[in-house]
Symmetry: C2
Subunit: 497 residues, 2 copies
């Protein structure tokens, strides 16, 4: 019997360092691993997305488009993959269709192959245009199901959504589990259901590892017919990140499945990032495993967000009440999956409800969510709260695709970018400024200074280590000081006796 | 359909802190969690074994028998479980049968319920007497298969070994995977094979999590019919430890299996140990996930052992050669599983072979291993090396059960203990000294001072943190001192140059 080959998407260049190191990894810490990554036999290499783009221009003074071109050069044999937030692109609002087309065109031109297109609310209308644009440039359009748990989310619902994505031309379906909520049985049932209903459409499964259970979910998904699964090289894995690539390889040994990955290459990649990760220690999250989300339904990042909002109001002791309010607000909104931006919108409204009375004050974003401006959720919105939203925001309910209400904006975006110091005249720069108008202008100005790393160099770490070592051991030899005594400077050597 | 109930053995009180915190956890850090552990619905609570016993008297000035009685009192509803190294008991040599009986009797008397009996070489003759002794006192005798990978270890061989253990009266079979080598497929095949061959004998599966793959192995073992699996509460899990209890619960939700554990209790247990673990940070291993063992066959602890032996000989650069020598030595010895003590014996001989020429010098222990004094391995020993061992050690080959060559020793052990200062006259003390003759005498002397904790109190941690914080920030400006020199006070400002 020949084992069925399971494709693997390596996440180390994007989601792994986004989840573990606050997206801070500099390009110089990735370059040396690219040849091995290119040769290891992955189905694809995820290397680009909203947070990496943002981090490039916000913290690293690096042009994200150039990063993409560098990856393209260094990994000529690999499918490069990105995560695209549908009509939001990599930003936080809906863009008019022509901007979406421009972005996809430019991404493809600069080297992107696989576009994983998703929407926080799972509203297919918010993914449709991006997917059509991907197909238009001849690249791989992957439609995405964001997995969550709620009274209205069912296996059947996810299977139906997969069908809508296939109808929209998805070349493959991604089951995306950003909160590590996907348990083995639903993983099996959803993948199996999609395969049985729609035939042999390619299914990719993406799980985080926060709850400690999702490598088992990948196993069950594979048994159910999944074709590609996501993993991160072990030295950049686990916690809020992903399951280790080498463990995945080991998991399938002896079964009727195989990854066919080159273990010698994986070891080199692992050893490379094992030296890189410690340099970003200050950005690391401490979470190793956390299953609270199964009962609270509240992702870790959302929880800490609400806690800091409460503290800022001097109400840090009311987090329990807010945690109990979240499911109510979520239900009122029609059970959106809690990911960016819906997690922030629901969380902030829950805080407001506790501090000021339920819906006495409504944020503009929450009103928009209630009135359809982010798209449709699976559940029904609470009509009383919708009415309140209309009154408070003085806006109408919309039912069509949100982007249909937008006017053409490309020319205006070109004009805005052109006015900026350091703008290089490219459409890439126009898109950068369109998506991150609060950050791009400063980046354009300093771009010529070249990329900056926020990693601690070995030298910096060594000197910190020595300093702390000296402290622990005490002073070993003479230390020289400049001592000012009675206004006069003396050079003094001090050593223990 | 009613879900099949899967029992869970909680490891936090023994193997979890042994694997993660060098067995240093003090009783005072466990007491507060015992009620919740007792009520959570575990099949058993592992709480005693060789390393915890050793650590009690070596580092914590605590009587391990008293620890056991305390557990018994605090957890009246639980099966207490221990790990027993067959004829070695908790020590490092074979004991004569009457000592084995005494130890089992006293352990049962002090509160032990389930005895997991194992032998490093999987030689049933080394387990037989301990198991018979357990049955004689009416307690649960669990026969153990140590899982390893080698050219002579097969699924069929493990199934056969299970049969031998059942014939010896095992009430259940433990599949013990101390190096996290048990992959999903063999986990399934071995459990399935045992159930199909011998009917419904209870099977317990124990896996470490080092390679990141073994929660999947537990899933497959459960699918194959395993009855009880081992886990550690999440705040004391992963890395060289075990899979998280809560993740196991989540894994089975929605499947045809259930743990029926009380999640509210688990959360309390988790929160308790989340505050305990940081106090032992200095004892923590850094390993998070490591799949090297699949190719090297060398457990992490054994590797670091060999490295330090090489460094002590000024040959730290020859570790590659030693790593290549290990499989050869292991094969010559008949493929023993590499666990204590076989891992040390094989590793040290591999170092000697590299430094001084192959088998030019043989350790006494390796000669004993080659001549049958530790029992039989599954593979054949290399006859040429056996001959060398006979010559160098001037000893005969033995083929019977090693303990058959021992003379009654109980009276002598009583005499030895009685001569010690602080001996309390109990048979428990005789056993303590019999198993740890190098440590017990000093412990008996200081026992009256009561248990000592090696944990860092929050206050200690805070002051260390402040000290290191100050150091890291460096001296920002001049610091003023009052210096008394030859009886006169000077006010001095010091700053770095």
């Amino acid at each position: 019997m020949t084992a069925r080959k399971i494709g693997v998407t390596e996440l180390v260049l994007r989601d792994a360092h986004q989840s573990l190191l606050a997206t801070r990894m500099a390009m110089e810490d990735m370059v040396a691993a690219c040849e091995d990554i290119d040769q290891a036999g992955y189905w694809s290499v995820e290397c680009w997305g909203g947070a990496t783009f943002d981090s490039c221009i916000r913290f690293l003074n690096e042009d994200p488009w150039k990063r993409l071109r560098t990856f393209r050069e260094l990994m000529p044999n690999s499918r490069l993959q990105m995560l695209l937030r549908g009509q939001n692109l990599l930003g936080y609002r809906h863009y008019e269709d022509m901007v979406v087309e421009k972005f996809v065109e430019k991404s493809a031109e600069n080297g992107m192959d696989v576009f994983r297109v998703f929407d926080a609310l799972n509203d297919p209308r918010n993914m449709a245009h991006a997917m059509a644009a991907v197909k238009k440039v001849g690249k791989h359009a992957q439609g995405t199901i964001c997995y969550t748990i709620s009274p209205v989310h069912t296996v059947e619902g996810y299977i139906k959504l997969a069908g809508q994505l296939i109808d929209m031309g998805a070349e493959s379906i991604a089951l995306k589990d950003m909160a590590a909520l996907l348990q083995p049985q639903p993983a099996y049932d959803i993948v199996r259901g999609i395969k049985e209903t729609y035939g042999d459409i390619q299914i990719n499964v993406h799980c985080h590892s926060t709850t400690g259970v999702t490598l088992v979910s990948l196993m069950k998904a594979i048994e159910a017919g999944a074709d590609v699964v996501d993993a991160a090289i072990s030295s950049m894995s686990l916690g809020p990140g992903h399951n280790p690539t080498e463990s995945l390889v080991a998991m399938l040994e002896g079964t009727e499945y195989t990854t066919d990955l080159d273990m010698d290459r994986l070891i080199k990649i692992r050893d490379h990032f094992a030296t890189v990760r410690p340099k970003y220690k200050e950005f690391e999250s401490a979470t190793l495993v956390d299953t609270d989300i199964f009962s609270s339904q509240i992702p870790g990042g959302m929880l800490s967000n609400m806690e800091s909002q409460l503290r800022a109001q001097g109400a840090g002791d009311r987090i329990r009440e807010v945690m109990e309010e979240v499911p109510r607000v979520k239900a009122d909104a029609g059970h959106p999956p809690l990911v960016t931006p819906s997690s922030q919108i629901v969380g902030t409204q829950a805080v407001f409800n506790v501090l000021m009375g339920r819906y006495k004050v409504m944020t503009g974003e929450f009103a928009d969510l209630m009135l359809g401006y982010y798209g449709e959720c699976l559940g029904e919105r609470n009509p009383e709260v919708v009415e309140l939203a209309q009154k408070q925001a003085k806006k109408d309910i919309i039912t069509a695709r949100p982007a249909d209400y937008l006017k053409p904006e490309w020319d205006e975006l070109v004009k805005q970018a052109s006015a900026l110091e350091g703008f290089d005249g490219s459409e890439e720069d126009v898109l950068t400024n369109a998506m991150f108008p609060g950050v791009a202008p400063a980046f354009f100005k300093t771009r010529d200074e070249g990329p900056k790393s926020v990693a601690k160099t070995p030298k910096q770490m060594e000197s910190e280590k020595q300093a702390s070592g000296a402290k622990q051991q005490g002073i070993a030899g003479p230390i020289k000081y400049k001592v000012t005594l009675a206004g006069r400077e003396h050079h003094v050597a001090v050593e223990p006796v």
